[in-house]
């Protein structure tokens, strides 16, 4: 049988290992935040489209329809609509379309958009070359601008037996006010406590 000090040392070593595991798991949790973004970009998880410099592909005779969708967060006083509802393009061909944003307020406002495509399985074949969504957009009071987006659909989609049934891809944007631009509302938040939302109002979770 081991002596008491051996015994205590062994216990301390086990406990130290356990705390290393705990610290490692906390670290992994935070490391998962950038990793998650990366996984989405690489695999198209959640409908994240690809980013490319230009289309290197031969233009295929096969056509596909791309629909354009727009949403505005209620915190952003903008009007934001696609200039065309849908186009039919050849696979591999670059196409440029645009969305029109109008600042409806009487102050300068900065917005940023998130994006995805559906069906989700088509995301890894949908590549953007240029997009207003890559950077923040600032609009002066009442200003209206056309924001371009250039994209192509990778002809490899035809070889993916799970995705080659896709006839229509929907590209969707949601515009938010950037966090830095939100007016300092701290005191207001506390006084607005009476307007707390219920689960039902938010559509359930």
């Amino acid at each position: 049988m081991s002596s008491r000090s051996d015994f205590a040392r062994r216990n301390r070593r086990t406990a130290a290992t356990a705390f290393v595991v705990v610290t490692g798991m906390v670290g992994l949790t935070f490391a998962f935040v950038p990793l998650y973004t990366l996984i989405c970009q690489v695999t198209g998880l959640g409908g994240t489209p690809q980013v490319a410099d230009r289309s290197d592909y031969e233009v295929s005779t096969q056509e596909i329809t791309v629909r354009f969708d727009s949403n505005v967060d209620r915190g952003l006083p903008w009007d934001f609509v696609p200039n065309e509802r849908s186009v039919t393009v050849n696979l591999g061909a670059e196409y440029q379309t645009s969305y029109r944003s109008t600042n409806l307020s009487d102050e300068p406002v900065t917005g940023i958009s998130t994006f995805n495509v559906t069906p989700i399985k088509a995301a890894q074949y949908f590549s953007k070359i240029e997009c207003f969504c890559f950077v923040e957009q600032a609009l002066k009071p009442g200003q209206s601008v056309d924001m371009p987006v250039t994209f192509f659909v990778d002809p490899a989609i035809l070889e993916d037996e799970l995705a080659n049934d896709v006839q229509t891809i929907t590209l969707s944007y949601t515009f938010y006010r950037t966090l830095d631009d939100i007016p300092d509302k701290e005191p207001e938040f506390i006084s607005q406590a009476d307007t707390v939302l219920t689960t039902a109002q938010l559509g359930g979770t």
Partner: protein, 550 residues
Amino acid sequence: MSTTATHAHDDHHDHAPKGIWRWLNSTNHKDIGTMYLWFSVLSALVGGGLSFLIRLELGEPGIQVFNVVGEMMGSEAKQFYNVTVTAHALLMVFFVVMPALIGGFGNWMVPMMIGAPDMAFPRMNNISFWLMPPALILLVLSAFMGKGAGTGWTLYPPLSGLAGQPDMSVDFAILSLHLAGASSILGATNFITTILNMRAPGMTMHKAPLFVWATLITAVLLLLAMPVLAGALTMLLFDRNFGTAFFDPAGGGDPILWQHLFWFFGHPEVYIMILPAFGIVSHIVSTFSRKPVFGYLGMAYAMASIGIVGFIVWAHHMYTVGMGVNYRAYFVAVTMAIAVPTGIKIFSWIATMWGGSISFKTPMVWSIGFIFLFTVGGVTGVVLANAGMDIVMHDTYYVVAHFHYVLSLGAIFAIFAAFYYWFDKMTGKVYPEWAGQLHFWTTFVGVNVLFFPQHFLGLAGMPRRYIDYPDIFAEWNMVSTWGAYITMASTVFFLIVTLFVMIGGRKSVANPWGDGATTLEWTVDSPAPFHTFEDTPDFTGGNPAAHPAE
């Protein structure tokens, strides 16, 4: 933590400290276990009371209870209904089931089962327990602060963010879970060290009792899962208070990220709640069948594989977020794979009973009740594992019925089974058999009347987490609320009888269950002396408890 009998105060065998300091400063695994059990009972009274309010409200269509309760609490009916659902869930998970199974029975029995004098780190054991009351206070306060935290136990943003719950109630709930998580991590470290290093000589892991195995695996799961919850909660706290945007798309975050992190913790968490129950039921079935447990190694490794696979199935909770079909196929397949080790356990319990000399004493009927009800909950779990089915049933009462069958009727039945099994050992009193049987049968009828109709409601499309419902759901909701009345009456009966027995019950013996009880705790007196196994028992020649004197 002496392993030899030379230490001076060991000579005073039952010299427990007196008064409040015995409990506040306790480093004794039995006293800490007792405190965990009382703490769990206290939380269960609050958490159970809240669920009774929910059933009262849902007993008939319309809003008739929470308009009054919500006003009393300075909130309004719908928000406070959500607060009640949230508090009920968090209380039951973190403050009832975990403290009872791990902190309570784990602390009491694991050191005795392995022949150790106490836990490896008795003072750390003290802080593990005493972190829990402040955590409970913070959680209760969260219901009184502002409008309360009406987020559901899953705390999904944006509802749990500033947009959904702008006042400080959610921050209180987050800090409460941080404390409870720290307590669990310290407790898990203690159990792992105790079980790995302090087993009696000759007791290899392959000879350790199954409850010891269950506690070890649970502790490992806690160690891996709890830090993920802590990290995610910290991000949520920062999003709410310090302007970060981990889960806010306006700042480049993603609310789905929360769901991944939460369920990476949340799914192992459900096994954390049920694995100790598996261990307990194995002992009870073996004891009352007078047979060693069937397929001991298979039982141990089934628990281990459930624990491991439990970490790679999390996204079956979020089939509806818009997941590619390949990902869904993967999560369906691995989720269903868990039914295999679970089936090994169910069939091994039945095989243990097969050909045994069964006596249907109170702990045994609770264990058989556990096996039956857990199987029902497992079957609905296999149904829900299918992504195609889940998209229809997601967030309906079918899901509510499923997880109450495995937790409310599974884990809670195992807690009662363990309570009756070890009552003599912990209190030195005999629990009257008729009272235990009556408690079992009334609870069994009550909870089935309560939860079985919820399958029908869910299949008919009734969504969960709403205060009201269309009249078409009225009948089965009424039946369900009758079940709550029966269960409530049964629980009150149990509490009264238990108080009487603890004050005036008959004196019990060291081993009231006979030859079938072969673990070491039955070799010491009842109630177990303040200090046990200062002379380490020797397992090298076989189990010294296998042929008890009585």
